[in-house]
Amino acid sequence: MKQGSMFRKKTVPLLTMISPVTAWLILLIALPLLYMLVISFCGTDDSHNIVFRFTLKNYAKLFDPTILSIYSNSLIIALLTTVICILVAYPFAYIMASTTPFRKTLMMIFLMLPFWTNSVIRLYSWRTLLGVNGYINILLMKIGLIEAPIEMLFTRGAVVLGMVYTLLPFMVLPLLTVIDKLDGGLIEASGDLGAKPAQTFLHVTLPLTAPGIFAGSIMVFIPCLGYFFVSNLMGGGTSQLIGNVISRQFKEAFNWPYGAALAIMLILITLLIVKIYTKTGGSIDDLGVM
């Protein structure tokens, strides 16, 4: 067709237009992932070199009881973190959405300001607070509440605290978006129809802001599975996450194929969670990652 040929002449070929992005995606994301996938089916020799021979033994090792318990520990920590984040972030976002624009900006600044500092450094400051010789223990002993310092650091609680601290903004932001959009008329209508404030919250506010809770939970739960540095700093090895095991395979045990298999498994779990999220009506756009 004549029109078609003119069209083709005047526009930049499709491949040229998208190639920089495509190249970037292929080079930095697709290829490394593919490499991971390939080596996850390989073995190693005695000096930790990868031997390209097909094997499923890395995947078989995933069902080792120790690994399974680490998986379940990771999931428990991620779940706890998510629940605590919801409980802390919801009132915070609610107040933020209903206050004056000035206070809202102020709250946003306080929420985002810590991000200007590396999270590893911020977690170190928690160690000075929580440690056996930390400020909290010193204070509690000074006022006579305890006689000997309590071991607060290097517990699962400390890991969860670190996770909540690091990931809280990712819960607040999607919640803020949905609460901001909430029609105040609906709250008034509910009260008008005889609902007490608690009933209004349960029947109107909560269901209408649920998409924000879902989106925030995804944003918190998934990174939680992989943030090994939090568990390193706050848990000090007492509380193993999948992320810790993976990082150790690459950095200490030099068993890259096994590490790759663990990582692939983590990716599959993540995809599964996202799939559940979208199946239950969640939108990828709400996550703010695409």
Binding site: E188, A189, G194
Partner: protein
């Protein structure tokens, strides 16, 4: 008047320094259809929201069924609201929306479903129970909002411009339906609107508000025929307003007045010599004559005739530039554009308004001198 169900006594409402409701006194009778009519920003919606409990009056007392309500939250008040934006719960279907109030009051399930069915049939929405608000048209949403409110058997139903978002035809239809519904249920309706025609058609009584002040409250005929203030005369329907000084009165109550361009005549039971008043004459009561009429010194030029079906509207420009609107029934003879005529009326058709505030407002806001000069040239 029947027993008052809502009483508003000396109510003032401030938003910061903004005085939005000024010393409001109003009694709403049991079972009546009362419209609060006024332009946007006149305080009518604020008044409604104070009755509902969404706003707290700064001063004064509001009682519902004889009980003071200032310490009652909306959910504790036996009134329900139909919102301008409908405020239907988007995550609930029609049945759940309508049942909401009863569920909150822990009414038993079989009773709820029976009452929901009743309420839906009352607004002619049988079979729509499973639909969600997003799947309904504007008119249907409106009906759901009404059903959701009346199912709770409120003593007073508050309606905040409920038909504002509907198109003309649907609006007219809903006006009749709402009026019938109110008669059938016997519930007191307090209906906020800025549409004077709507208020005149539906109401038992109309309260006209302007700038936070209740200008007049009365039956539609009184509001239209005996406006108490210049604002009411001007806002309700079309009218010709003259600013004049009362000069003399005869035994029959006929009053001679002096306006800017000369003598005019009206009737006034509260004549007071030298008082500055407004005289309002409706276009359909305004007459034209080729010869001078005794008692009226209003000479003018016909600018145009506009045929609008039931009537022909004639615009006459007086010598001082004031624009006079005259409505002639269709079929009657219409004066030719450009012809010079005398304007008059029957003294009993003119309403004299005593300007309570004592402040003289510009009565000639419609003057367009340039057009007058062109027309006479």
């Amino acid at each position: 008047m029947a027993k008052a169900i809502v009483e508003i006594k000396n109510v003032n409402k401030f938003y910061g320094d903004n005085h939005v409701v000024k010393d409001l006194n109003m009694e709403i009778a049991e079972g009546e259809f009362l419209s609060i009519l006024g332009p946007s920003g006149c305080g009518k919606t604020t008044t409604l929201r104070m009755i509902a409990g969404f706003e707290q009056q700064t001063q004064g007392v509001i009682t519902v069924e004889g009980e003071r309500v200032e310490n009652k939250e909306p959910f504790e008040r036996n009134v329900n609201t139909v919102f301008q934006s409908y405020a239907l719960f988007p995550h609930m279907n029609v049945t759940d929306n309508v049942a909401y109030g009863l569920k909150m009051k822990k009414v038993k399930k079989p009773e709820i479903s029976e009452r929901v069915e009743n309420a839906l049939s009352m607004v002619q929405l049988e079979g729509f129970g499973k639909r969600f608000p997003a799947q309904l048209s504007g008119g249907q949403r409106q009906r759901v909002a009404i059903a959701r409110a009346i199912i709770n058997n409120p003593r007073v139903l508050l309606l905040d411009e409920p038909l504002g978002a509907l198109d003309m035809k649907l609006r007219k239809q809903m006006q009749i339906e709402l009026k019938n519904l109110q008669k059938r249920l016997g519930i007191t309706f307090v209906y906020v609107t800025h549409d004077q025609e709507e208020a005149l058609t539906m109401s038992d009584r109309i309260a006209v508000m302007n700038d936070g002040v209740l200008e007049q409250i009365g039956v539609p005929a009184d509001i239209y025929e005996k406006p108490a203030t210049k604002f009411v005369a001007d806002f309700i329907g079309e009218t010709n307003i003259f600013e004049a000084i009362e000069v003399s009165a005869d035994a029959a109550g006929q009053v001679a007045l002096k306006s800017e361009i000369g003598e005019i005549t009206g009737t006034d039971s509260e004549f007071s010599e030298g008082e500055i008043v407004y005289l309002s004459v409706r276009p359909e009561k305004t007459l034209l004559s080729a010869a001078p009429v005794s008692g009226y010194a209003l000479r003018g030029t016909v600018r145009e005739n506009i045929y609008i079906g039931t009537v022909t509207k004639t615009t006459v420009i007086l010598q001082n530039g004031q624009e006079i609107r005259v409505a002639n029934a269709a079929g009657s003879s219409v004066p030719e554009a450009g012809s010079a005529l005398y304007v008059y009326w029957n003294p009993s058709d003119a309403v004299i308004i005593h300007s309570k505030s004592g402040k003289i407002i510009d009565a000639f806001e419609n003057v367009d001198l340039s057009e007058y000069v062109e027309g006479s040239a």
